[in-house]
């Protein structure tokens, strides 16, 4: 070989490099027809920043991250939706859905002339089709959690030979009735707020989801926007749906969801590269932003809590006294104060605060019940476990846990050793564990930490079929609650079958089994009388606080930061920015 050959290699490398620019677009990107994007004159685009990449599954069936669901919300409509005040509004309907007198069916009246973005009609058949897809035996998306099992004929379609879901009846093109197999307090919410899909997008037959499964990126909805472009690393861009009837109600012509680097959030917002930064909890960003005149913010309760869960089935934590003592011995107020400390912030934001200690483990945004959780209202009999080391010691003492020679308590020869199944890279735990290690030691508890990755933790505590749960005593998790109903708590606290041989509800990771609690939860869910439901749930809440299966560590406020050029953006706990674009203007 000589230098000429070497030149050839270098040259070809260079050439390869330069041609690469042309064809190296990431996944599914860049259709460069600029035909319909020339509308920029009528307003600036809304550019939303996120540090999390979109996963690219925007189909309602498979959108599983909150970020992907932003796109789903922009593209798809549901029959009803929550507004920023958490009130249910009509979207595709002409009138409030009518519940039958016996509460066992509900009828939805659709507007006429509704269209999907491809120009095809949206009618009652599409509604039926949407829910039929969810009931398909082959559908295994994350939303297949049994939330629609109350619909008549659901199980027969999913597990049996039925040709259709018999409980969904199309009366005429604008009228659809859902019949219930069991009463459900949540029926209208769950059905009404689900995204409606088109029955002509792909071929479908029972048991064969086909393209619905493999083309989760492709969308066809009826909302104001359509996806123009998606690139995993860059983000998504949406433009106006030309077939949308009330285009004027959505002045924003283009919506861009942009992946930005962590640590640059505030700088990009200040520089105007993005104009909306939703769903923040970080003091370091919110604080400085609140004293910046050109940045506005919305804040609202986040529909979620961070909590410690106790193993109520085996080990020392199966003793309710231990759970109570540990709850007393955890300085949650101190933790929240330290964890959510502002460096600098406006007084208004400081007053709102970032975090708070929930009084009880319950959805803080649940209708009526949420006020007890956030401490806005008091519920008689509720135990709230303020930090009190002496009370913790006393509780253990009374239950027969005596201090041993090494300072660790024991009972019947069993040491009070608590194994914390922690997850790596969790900033909450990094602060929490050293803290409780010290305090719990003082009451005679030996805390052992076992750090695993998140998936392992979920598989360990979340495998409810596994009878052997002796490997851990407590875990930490943060969870989001869906919707405004308390029924979400049934999933976390309840069981089916008998107390002796229970089948835990899907998220009952603590494996708490208590007949009184379970009965109250079921009474709250399986009724159509709202007042009765609330009463039952109050009972359940008090009972839960006595049993202390979960120790809620913190709740937070979400902050949506936006540049002041964004007007009329009103967001709330169940109405994020992607559901609140009606009337929003970017100047």
């Amino acid at each position: 070989m000589n230098s000429r050959k070497w030149m050839a290699i270098t040259a070809s490398t260079l050439m390869a490099a330069s041609t690469m620019f042309g064809c190296s677009s990431g996944s599914g990107s860049a259709k460069k027809d600029s035909g319909d994007s020339s509308s920029a004159a009528s307003g600036k685009p809304l550019i939303v920043g996120t540090t999390q990449e979109l996963a690219g599954s925007f189909s309602p069936l498979y959108a599983s991250t909150a970020y992907d669901q932003w796109v789903t919300n922009l593209v798809y409509q549901s029959m009803m939706k929550y507004n920023s005040d958490s009130k249910l509004e009509l979207v595709l309907l002409t009138e409030e859905p009518k519940l039958a007198d016996d509460g066992m069916s509900v009828t939805f009246k659709l507007k006429s002339g509704l269209k999907f973005s491809d120009g095809s009609d949206l009618d009652a058949n599409d509604v039926k089709f949407t829910f039929t897809l969810l009931a398909d035996p082959e559908y295994v998306g994350q939303l297949n959690d049994g939330s629609f099992n109350f619909i008549e004929g659901w199980n027969e379609y999913q597990k049996g030979e039925a040709e259709e879901v018999s409980g969904i009846v199309v009366e005429d093109p604008t009228t659809v009735t859902f019949k219930f197999a069991t009463a459900d307090i949540d029926a209208v919410n769950s059905i009404g707020t689900w995204w409606i899909m088109s029955d002509t997008q792909f071929e479908y037959s029972k048991g064969n989801l086909g393209d619905y499964k493999t083309k989760a990126e492709e969308t066809l909805g009826s909302n104001a926007y359509v996806v123009k472009n998606y690139d995993k690393s860059a983000g998504a861009a949406l433009v106006k749906n030309e077939n949308f009837e009330n285009k004027d109600k959505y002045p924003v012509e283009q919506v861009v969801i942009k992946t930005i680097a962590a640590a640059t959030e505030l700088a990009t917002l200040e520089a105007g590269d993005i104009n909306l930064l939703p769903g923040l909890i970080e003091a370091d960003i919110i604080g400085p932003a609140s004293v910046n005149e050109s940045i506005g913010y919305n804040s609202y309760f986040r529909a979620g809590e961070g909590y410690v869960g106790f193993n109520c089935k085996e080990g020392p934590c199966s003793d309710v006294a231990v759970r109570k003592a540990l709850s007393y011995a955890t300085d949650r107020a101190g933790f929240v104060e330290a964890f959510y400390k502002f460096p600098e912030a406006s007084d208004a934001v400081k007053d709102t605060g970032l975090g708070y200690v929930p009084t009880v483990f319950w959805s803080p945004v649940a209708t009526t019940m949420g006020d007890y959780t956030t401490g806005k209202a008091d519920l008689e009999g509720l135990q709230t476990y303020e930090f009190d080391i002496e009370k913790a010691k006393q509780t253990l003492e009374d239950a027969g846990w005596k201090v041993g020679s090494d300072g660790i308590r024991e009972k019947d020869g069993q040491k009070l050793e608590i194994r914390f199944l922690a997850t790596e890279g969790n900033s909450v735990l990094e602060m929490l564990i050293p803290m409780i290690m010290k305090d719990w030691k003082e009451i005679g508890v030996d805390l052992k930490q076992n750090t695993v990755d998140f998936n392992t933790m979920i598989d360990t505590v979340g495998d409810l079929d596994n009878k052997d749960v002796s490997g851990w005593d407590i875990f930490f998790m943060a969870t989001g609650f869906t919707g405004l109903s308390s029924t979400t708590m049934n999933n976390l606290l309840g069981y089916q079958g008998t107390a002796e041989d229970p089948t835990y509800q899907g998220s009952n990771y603590t494996r708490i089994v208590d007949e009184d609690l379970n009965n109250a939860l079921n009474a709250g869910k399986n009724t159509t009388d709202e007042a009765a439901s609330i009463e039952a749930y109050k009972k359940a809440m008090v009972r839960e606080s006595e049993l202390a299966p979960y120790l809620p560590m913190y709740g937070n406020h979400y902050f949506d930061l936006y540049s002041t050029s964004v007007k009329n953006l009103k967001t709330g706990p169940v109405c994020n920015w992607s559901q609140a674009l009606e009337g929003v203007v970017v100047e």
Binding site: T51, A263, M431, M435, T451
Partner: protein, 306 residues
């Protein structure tokens, strides 16, 4: 590597000749004369002393924290500030150094032991044993190092947090030895053809004495140089793994997982004292080890003997 490969032709002969003068003395003299390498050695010794004694002298405990003094900037009380739990960053920096260097050391030792064992046996016995062992090392050699070590590390996540560092060291060692094994084997193969080995054969020395007394001393320089460089790269690998959250885990600090703090945008931007010093220390350590390694290589290189 290219240097090592050239060595077999001349190395043994020359070294045999100067045996009486003492090859170690000569090497040491040459190393001492190499100013750059000496600087490396001094820096490395200083780092070792620091990671050993600074945490001891500070008189604090790894579990100590001050919640009311979080993310504090460097001050006279905390020279490198504090982290998100109000722990002293200087303390964690040097404690982390202990772990990182330890991982490097264990990994290097493991590499050397495995490499010499496999390479030595293969080279000495030859035949079927050689064939099998070399096939085996070819397989390990063909595993893509970084992707594989990340994948395996993610499998090992179940290992308790306090044993994590040994896992990491073991992993690095277990994937790094084939290179050395090949070198040792090549060296031994050439040595076996040398006259002094044939003399040993004729005198009826045992395998054991042949290997320990005559073969090993001839590959030792190769091994030492290799071990040094291996240690440097093991420290780097640990840093990378822990940076990704798959290596040593908090609360045990290591330079890698201290740098991992930078993946939190706020820490990265506002509290650089939590991650930047770890990177600098890591760089200094690896540079100094590499300098020593290169110095040793030159010192052992017979071609450079005046």
């Amino acid at each position: 590597m290219e240097d090592n490969k050239k060595k077999p032709a001349s190395a043994p002969v020359t070294e045999e000749k100067i045996e009486s003068v003492g090859p170690w003395t000569i090497a040491w003299r040459k190393f001492r004369a190499n100013r750059v390498a000496m600087i490396g050695l001094i820096v490395f010794v200083l780092i070792i002393l620091a990671v050993l004694f600074v945490p001891m002298m500070m008189g604090i405990n790894v579990t100590d924290y001050e919640l009311n003094n979080m993310n504090a900037a460097p001050s006279s009380a905390h020279w490198l500030g504090t982290d998100a739990q109000g722990r002293d960053c200087l303390y964690r920096l040097f404690l982390g150094g202990r772990i990182s260097i330890m991982v490097g050391l264990i990994a290097a030792i493991l590499t050397v032991v495995l490499g010499c064992l496999v390479g030595g046996i293969a080279g000495y016995y030859g035949g079927l044993v050689d064939n099998l062992l070399m096939r085996f090392s070819e397989i390990v050699y063909s595993l893509p190092f970084t992707p594989m070590i990340i994948a395996i590390a993610s499998v090992m996540l179940w290992v308790p947090q306090n044993q994590k560092m040994y896992t990491v060291a073991f992993l690095i060692g277990a994937l790094s030895w084939p290179g050395l094994a090949r070198l040792v084997r090549g060296q031994i193969l050439t040595l076996r053809e040398q006259e002094f080995m044939q003399a040993c054969e004729a005198l009826g020395f045992s395998d054991f004495s042949k290997i320990t007394k005559h073969l090993l001393p001839n590959v030792i320089s190769l091994v030492i140089v290799n071990a040094t460089l291996q240690m440097a790269s093991a420290v780097l690998t640990e840093a990378g793994l822990s940076f990704l959250g798959m290596g040593v885990m908090a609360p045990t600090p290591s330079w890698g997982n201290l740098m991992n703090l930078a993946r939190n945008g706020q820490v990265f931007k506002n509290y650089p004292w939590q991650w930047l010093p770890a990177g600098i220390m890591c760089l200094l350590t690896v540079v100094s080890i590499n300098l020593i390694g290169e110095g040793l290589r030159d010192a052992f290189d017979p071609k450079e003997i005046q």
